[in-house]
Amino acid sequence: MDKPGSYSGFYAAFTPNLNSANQFSEYPIRRRLHDHYVTSRFPAFSDPRHDLRDSDKVIRYARELFDDEQPRRAIELIRIAIEEDQSQRALWLALIELCFLHRDAARFTELILAFVAEFARDPVLPILSAMRRELVPNDPAMVNARELQGLPNWSVPADGAKNDVLQRQFHAHLHHASMSHLNR
């Protein structure tokens, strides 16, 4: 598999803070500020308590942000939705895939541990091991993990699948033309 290298080099917190929403019942004013923040930062989520529990909507919007070169906002949206309702398994998987695309082995491991704490014995665990092996090829703990067969597309909305291979080839041509021009 090609090394994506997309958006590498920036720091982003991937692991959701599962205690964030705990104090809202005690401090309603915090709930109000949180909701105001969400609607301002993500205008499509005008009813945060309801919209952040709509996994499909969150994934679709996050993917658009990611494709529009706003990876931090994409990651944050999924994170804040998980903080709202941590049982949304699809969102955990989407976040894991974005973290994998980010090639951040340390945070990937941290995120996997948090996922396993929520969803022990989940059927995707072998895929997660394969992804981990792809990120850290020399990790002795992953020596028996199977090889990753393409991206699982967890961060892509159900009807938004693309031909990743062609899209990447096209981009390679375009990137080459751009660089040739800049460096002439």
């Binding site: 994506p4 997309s6 920036f10 982003a12 803070n17 964030s20 004013i29 301002s40 903080e83």
Partner: protein
Amino acid sequence: MGSNPADNVSTTRASQQAHRIREQLMAKQLSLESMLNRFALVAAADQIEQAVIEFEARTREERERLLLSSAAHTTDEIGLCEWYAARYDLLARMARLVTERVLPSAPAALRHESIKHAGGAWAYSILLRGHASKWRQIGGQRTIAPRGILHQVFKSALEYKISDHILEVSVEGQRTETTVEALYARTLLLERFGSGNLSPPRLEILDNWLITWMSALWLSTNPYTNDATLLLSIDTNSEIHGLTRYEVGQPADFYLSLMPLQYQLERAIQSFHRGVLFPGWGIGMAFRVDEHVGVIDFLERELMMLEQNILVKSKRFSPQTDVVADVYLGLDDITAAGLSDQPANLALNKTGEAGSKNQSDVDVTHSALGAALNVLHLSVLDVSETGVGFAVPATAAADVSVNDLVAVRFGAGYPLSLGVIVRKTIAKAGAERNSTIIGVNFLSRCPLLARLDLQYTSAKNEDIAQQNIHINAILLSGNSAYGNADSLVLSDAVQKSSPLLTMRFGGETRGDIFQIRLGRVRRQGRGWRMMAFDVMQKTAVG
């Protein structure tokens, strides 16, 4: 609608009261200045700190009101902003005088102790200069004051080896631990990030954040090769002005890694997730959450652009003002003239069906047409990673609108940058008073021209005619290696028919032909659309 007379009376009273407070504070500051020589060094530094605390406490309400009414500053309000800048400048000057008195006044044996105890004077000299610069910007003065004195104060702190001592300063009544070095970095960052791109409330919020983050602002004499980095020179004759984007191998006196700022930004975001306004103090607390979110968006864009610079090494325009740039307006002029001298062997055909045989590799390198077209030569006011500000002469002001597509060339030999106008205002103060100011957000530093062949089949009576019309489009390479962020900028008329397109990379006899389908609109303006697209098919040629 008439105003309530009672309201007018109370407004007048409040205004008179504020005026009295200002007069009292100014008299106190002038008196302190004249008495400064009578104080011992440490006492003088303390006196200045007390003056700052009192000044900020008694004027907070008025400053808050000024920041909130920023959308339309009146002449009086601009005058007030200038007055605040002048007061902070005076206090900064007094603090600097104290730093200059240290060596001559201290006996050799006690010199080190004297410097250490009077460290606050260095801190306030730099902190207050930053405050003054901010209030000048709030009042609409976009020209940054010379940094010579700021550099001198920092150089003397380095010389006396107190630049990294932990000191305490007071900002809006909040005691903050810091160092002279961090205060220096905060002042320069504030100037860099705030140079005309942020509204006054957002500038104030950003400043509150930078002050809270000062513990993460460390200057290094060695470059950070893997992090987004800014550099600076403290030599006043240097060509480097303020904090500048680092290019590999570029020598400088100091380097500032932006990675710690990213961690701090995440901390701030996490605070909002918990429903707590960050940082919990300062005038920024009075502003709406939208303004705070605006600062997050702004910092994310700025940091992203700086990070991309690590990945893409190329000839780039270094942010500096005092240059005149060529600016092309509108999709037609940009593609016909602005991009005409850029050799890109791309050809696009619009076809109604997949695999059409009508693709042709069109040589897009044609003679420059610039002389006959609309090119503006505009003075650059400020540049950041994500945008640029221009002064527009009155003759051209009517031709530019928000959301217009523009292309900018900063000088001969520089590539064209594509952008969109996001702001158009009339300058209220400074050298550009009453002229039109536009703000441009960059879409791409490397737009590529592509030719689009539109095939029209028209049927009149029984005659069927086919017509080819050539239309220009612009390809933008995104930052994702998966190609998800690539875009095509084209005329809205073409976009509306939602066509399939084919595009050839390579020569006539060898290369790849891709079929693409236009997707959603990413951005749009008068006559143009920036579209996402999906690659559907590829055919190899040769």
